[in-house]
């Protein structure tokens, strides 16, 4: 069964990545969907309001069954053109996205997706991924080489605390979520530099 939110998010993220990078890989769609969901926590929403869940692979990559199903459905229905390990939004895909983004069901998600995907304008995507892999749950899954669910209740508390620190440091409410996203990624990236001694 297709999750309507994952159905929309996969098109919206692919569109944005494609605008900057020319196309998107499936792993990048999962990664930026996860970052979008985290940004909804920055706005103090519970992770459950994102309407689908994420897990982490033992290699440390965010994954979502709901997104996976949607991406496959888009490829089967010609909304995404699947090539080797990356996808491109087709003209029909763009049309469907433009229709769906106006629906009340979806438009509230756009600022989170926009904030997450805008980070690629300021940071190389490889560094974004490495920074996210420093996030507590992903890091412990990676250290133990275990796959597991993400954004458990305990982890949400950790993220809320981190984002509260972030929000105080930024010192004002922001609608442009690219700002907290980049500050958070920079904090994680410096954490990695500290641990790797570089």
């Amino acid at each position: 069964m297709i999750n309507p939110f994952a159905y929309f998010d996969s098109l919206s993220i692919c569109k944005r990545l494609q605008d900057t990078l020319g196309n998107a890989t499936i792993a990048e769609i999962y990664l930026f969907a996860y970052l979008s969901c985290l940004l909804s926590l920055y706005e103090k929403l519970p992770a459950s309001s994102w309407e689908y869940q994420f897990s982490i692979t033992k290699e440390g990559y965010p994954y979502s069954v709901a997104l996976d199903t949607s991406v496959q459905d888009h490829i089967n229905n010609g909304l995404l053109d699947g090539k080797e390990y990356y996808v491109e939004l087709t003209e029909s895909g763009k049309e469907v996205y433009n229709q769906l983004r106006t629906l009340e069901l979806n438009y509230w998600r756009e600022p989170f997706i926009e904030g997450a995907c805008s980070t690629i304008l300021a940071m190389p995507i490889g560094i974004i991924r490495k920074s996210i892999s420093q996030e507590s749950e992903i890091k412990s899954a990676l250290d133990l080489s275990q796959s597991r669910m993400l954004l458990t209740d305990a982890e949400q508390d950790v993220i809320y605390k981190q984002f509260s620190t972030l929000s105080s440091a930024i010192g004002m409410e922001v609608k442009e979520l690219m700002v907290p996203a980049l500050v958070w990624l920079k904090c994680l990236s410096e954490q990695e530099d500290f641990e790797s001694g570089s």
């Binding site: 605008d19 792993a27 999962y30 490889g126 420093q134 440091a169 500050v183």
Partner: protein, 360 residues
Amino acid sequence: MIYLDPDKVKEIVNSLYVSRILEAYGETGVTTLRDVLETLHRLFQFIEPELVKGSLLVFKLLDSDASPIDLPNPQRFTNPQHLAQEYVIDPTPRNSAIQICSNGDLMFWKDFNLDVTQLHNRAIVYLYRDRQDAFFIRENQCIVPNPSPVYASVFSIPTFRFLRDALEDYKRRWIRTSRCRIFCTAWHGGEKSFRLFFINGPESTMRRSLVQFLDTVFGGSAEIRPEQVVDETHPVDIKVTWMFSNRLALIEIKWLGKSINEEGKITQNFTDYRAKEGAQQLADYLNTNYAEVPTHQTRGYLVVIDGRRRGLSNSSKSISHHDGFWYEDKEITYNPAFHLTREDFEGPVRMFAEPICRAD
């Protein structure tokens, strides 16, 4: 659990150009910044920042209803590629400027003489000069740190989809002139040396250099792992795994040239024979790998870092251009030529690493 130190976070907020723009110009500033960043990415697809002589200013007014800057002789472009063509055909060092108009058009001044202080209160202003990116935020210049200084601008760091393209870029930018800070240390004498001899056992340094490069440019979808076991006796230098797909790549690195130890004694002298050994080794790995994971589509890449110099003895302290570049275009003939006979074996990539030659 990761604890964020409030003081550290505050320090980051105070130093990051994005948050400083938010503080100085509010949300409008960040929205305008996003337009500037999008334009920079598009421009640097067509303008190699390394070739920018002089400076390049890119700005967008915060007030979208304001008229464009009134300066004589602008050229107007709707397509950044066309602007780039105009820019690159003139190699004269100049201080040029591009204004991003509210409708997305680009106004281009080849010679721009306006004092930047006249802009920084009403525009997001970016300046590229001498391999450095900066934003003017009110009266202050905020330098953008570049995590990969091999690339002249942080906004020109590419994202590759194909390993072959990435390796060609690595060859051209990172190895040819030893610009990679890690790779530099593989030379005896390091960064300041004339790049005649490698250090004793430079393999792990070369591997680290390539792993760091691939980690930066290969997007968010490929796992780059050094020294992965393929058969019982040998690990392949680098294994690339594309997540959520059945694609794998095995990269074997071989170096050619001479290595020298701290006492100045030559410890290895690898000729093209070493590259041929590497090809056989990679073919064996591919066979083993196929037996282990038959459902994966695996491709093998042989990277040959060529530091050969003609007539080099252990007492050599310098080299002529003629001898130093002797091997620059000497391609290696492989027999068997696995890259011609096997579907899973890519053409070897020989990366000639240039010496610094004496003037004679």
